[in-house]
Structure formats: C-alpha cells, structure tokens
C-alpha cells in the first residue's frame, strides 16, 4: 500500500488544536506558499482558503484531496511518516493556467538527537 507509513485525517471538528498550522491560499493559478516544508513525524494542519473561485488540493501520492471553496476554510491534518517530496495540484478545472497550479510538500527528517527515531507509521 503506497500510503503505508502516512497517517492522514481530515479534521472534522474545529476545536482540535493541531501542533502546527500552515496557511495556504489558493488562487488562479497558484498556491501561496507552493512549497510546504514538513518534518517527519511532526503533525501539521494545512488550512486552505480560496481567494477567488473553486479549487482543489490533491496529493495523489498521499491519497489525499479536498475541495477549496471561497468563503470556507478547508483543513487537512497530516502526520508525515515518510521522508520525500509529494506533489500537489489543483484538480478542479479553474481556467487557462489550471495545468500550472501545483506545488509540493517536502518532508524532511528531523535533526538527529542522540538516536531518536521517526518515520514510523502513526
């Protein structure tokens, strides 16, 4: 299962307190920021809003997608369980330039602290 080692969950409840929040604004035809740097094993919530129209946020290699609609905040919680680069893109056609609307999640290993592990599935 290519998604093994990654634990992904959509936050259903607004009251949860993620350890880290990354805000991403989607607008034709880019994400800002378009590179999300995460640490292995460190939970993060990605909060997405749209500055103009309907977009999508799809990370096929993580088996993850969510709609990003104007006036709403879409939230995705990730606990990275694997080092690597994972491409994301808009999968809701949004006009001429849609094909360039993409970015990447870069998961890096934490700085070693005397043999601490990481990378296990949560």
């Amino acid at each position: 299962m290519r998604f093994a080692g990654l634990f992904l969950a959509l936050l259903a409840a607004a009251g949860e307190q993620p350890e880290r929040v990354v805000h991403v604004v989607a607008r034709r035809f880019n994400y800002s920021p378009d590179v999300l740097e995460l640490q292995l094993g460190v939970p993060v919530t990605i909060e997405l809003t749209s500055a103009d129209r309907d977009h999508g946020f799809s990370v096929p290699d993580l088996g993850l997608r969510i709609d990003v609609e104007p006036g709403k905040t879409a939230r995705v919680r990730i606990v990275p369980g694997k080092v690597g680069t994972f491409e994301f893109h808009c999968d809701v056609f949004c006009g001429s330039g849609h094909e360039e609307m993409a970015g990447r999640i870069v998961v890096s290993a934490p700085v070693a602290k005397g043999g601490s592990g990481g990378g296990q599935a949560r």
């Binding site: 290699d61 999968d91 006009g95 001429s96 094909e99």
Partner: protein, 302 residues
C-alpha cells in the same frame, strides 16, 4: 471493396500501421447485435483528432491558427473518406469570457464543416466545458454523452469534463450500465472520452477520479477499446483486456508522463514546426484480431 482499395493504397505507400491486440476479437461474428443491419460486420475506418485548443495563444505553438485547417486538409486528402471523424475533446482553448468561448466554438464549427466525412462525432474537453458545465458546448455541438452503433460496433461517448472535478458521476455510471445492458457480452465496444479513465499520472491530473467505476462496468465485456485525448501524445495502455489509446494533439505536444517535473508543453521547435502533432486513423477490419492504428503527423517529424 472500397476499404480494400484503401488498404492496398496503404500497402503501396508502405504504411502498415500498428495492430493492438484488443477490442476487435469477436467482431467478425457479432452475434445478436440488435442493430445489425446489412452493413453489420463490414470493415470500416474512422479518424481520431483531438485537443484542437482553438483560441490558444502562446509560445507552445506560434502557428496556432493553421493546425486545424491543416488537419482538415489532411483528412480530406485521405485516399478514401473515413466512415466518420471523431474529435476527443478540447475543441477550444478555455476562456473566462462566455462570448469569446462561443466565438471560438463557432469558428471551430466552421472549420469542421469543411471536413468531407459522412459523419462527425464530437465530445467536450475540460477546456470546452468545465467552466460553464458544458452549457456553450451543448449549444454548438450537442449532447455531452451519447452512444451510437456503426457496422456492428457499439460506440459510447463519455463525459468526464463538464464536472470541473473531472469525474463521470453516479448518474453517468448508471447511464453507461443501462446503455450496455442490451448488448451481448461478445459485442465489440468502443469508448470515446477525453480524460484517461485509468490513473495514468494522477498528479498531473491525467486521470478520471471515478474512472475505475466505468472500467468496472466495461470489464464485463471482453471486447472493449477506449480512445481518448487530454494528454496530447500517442500513448497505449491496457487495463486487463481493455486497451486505452491516447491521441496526439492538434495544438501542442505534452511531455511523456513523468519525463519532466511539470506537465508544461514541449517547446516549439521552429526547425520542425508542428512536430509531435497529428491525428490517427483507426481501421476496423473484421479479419484482424484488433484495431489497426496509423498515426498521421501534422508537422515535420524528422
């Protein structure tokens, strides 16, 4: 006899084409076809054109207005007219301006009217239909999904673009099941669609999110072939016994899946204008076990 004449021409011209092992087996007998008329079982051929992107302006093709007329000339110059021509989507390049969208569609319609083919089969791409859910497309070109029969082959046109999420949707999956229901399992079936039904490269949006559901429905039929566009290049893939063939674009080629970081168009080469563009003819010969595909380049390939 007419088709044989065409084959003789192709042999003389040294154009063999490529036979793909799927889809046509069983087409010889075509038992129980409800629509089988006098012509059922005849050989025939059609041409597939795709991704015209009329209205595109950009560096990937500085000759954007000449490709469609050139393709029309190529089809009209074939030694024998095909039974029909099919355009597998993205007739126009998208625009936010509804009037401009209609202007582009009107111009495409004028060009297509010059095709000397008995039948024209069209479908939408996301550039035609996603921003207005197919409203303008239907005004100009008709329904987004439909089926028809031709000489014993059942053709199905699927719409995976008018929903901007690039899906088929429950209603269409249900429609597909019902459309195929009267057919015997041995019936030869051809599906035309814009986006690939399988996950070719999902992170480039080269998939249909619920395409596997259509493939599941089609899987019950042993003789299915899918022709599609969207990826602007020749590509061949099998999902079990179902063959999927992508066609070249008539505007700009895109990179092979995963061959570069982004799916940006391949750069225009002024020394080889139109390289990578083209159309294909698809030969349905009951004497062969599969469709014979012949790629017809639009530009200078060498």
């Amino acid at each position: 006899m007419g088709s044989r004449t065409r084959r003789e021409f192709l042999q003389i011209a040294g154009v063999g084409g490529v036979v793909f092992a799927s889809g046509l087996l069983g087409a010889c007998a075509r038992p129980g076809r409800p629509d089988s008329g006098p012509a059922a079982g005849d050989d025939f051929y059609f041409v597939q054109l795709s991704d015209t992107h009329w209205g595109y302006k950009g560096p990937a093709n500085p000759e954007a207005t000449v490709e469609l007329p050139r393709a029309v000339e190529l089809v009209n110059a074939l030694p024998e007219a095909p039974d029909f021509a099919v355009f597998t989507g993205d007739l126009t390049h998208t625009t936010d301006d509804d009037q401009e969208r209609r202007r582009r569609m009107s111009q495409v319609r004028e060009h297509l009217a010059r095709l000397r083919v008995p039948q024209l089969r069209l479908m939408a791409g996301e550039h035609d239909a996603s921003l207005d859910r197919g409203a303008a497309y239907q005004e100009f070109f008709g329904p987004l999904r439909y089926s028809f029969d031709h000489k014993g082959v059942h053709f199905v046109v699927l719409d995976n673009v008018s929903d901007p999420k690039g899906i088929l949707g429950d209603a269409q999956i249900d429609w597909l099941s019902k459309d195929l229901e009267p057919l015997p399992k041995s019936a030869p079936i051809v599906v035309f669609t814009h986006r690939p039904l399988f996950d070719l490269k999902a992170d480039w949006d080269w998939n249909t999110a619920d395409g596997s559901r259509a493939i599941d429905v089609l899987h019950a039929y042993p003789h299915v072939t899918v022709f599609y566009g969207h990826i602007h290049q020749e590509h061949h893939h099998q999902t079990d016994h179902i063959a999927h063939h992508a066609a070249r674009s008539l505007m700009f080629p895109l990179p092979a899946p995963g061959s570069q970081p982004k799916r940006t168009p391949l750069p225009w080469d002024p020394s080889h204008p139109g390289r990578g563009l083209g159309l294909r003819d698809v030969d349905s010969d009951p004497r062969l076990p599969a469709y014979r595909l012949r790629e017809i380049p639009l530009g200078t390939e060498a």
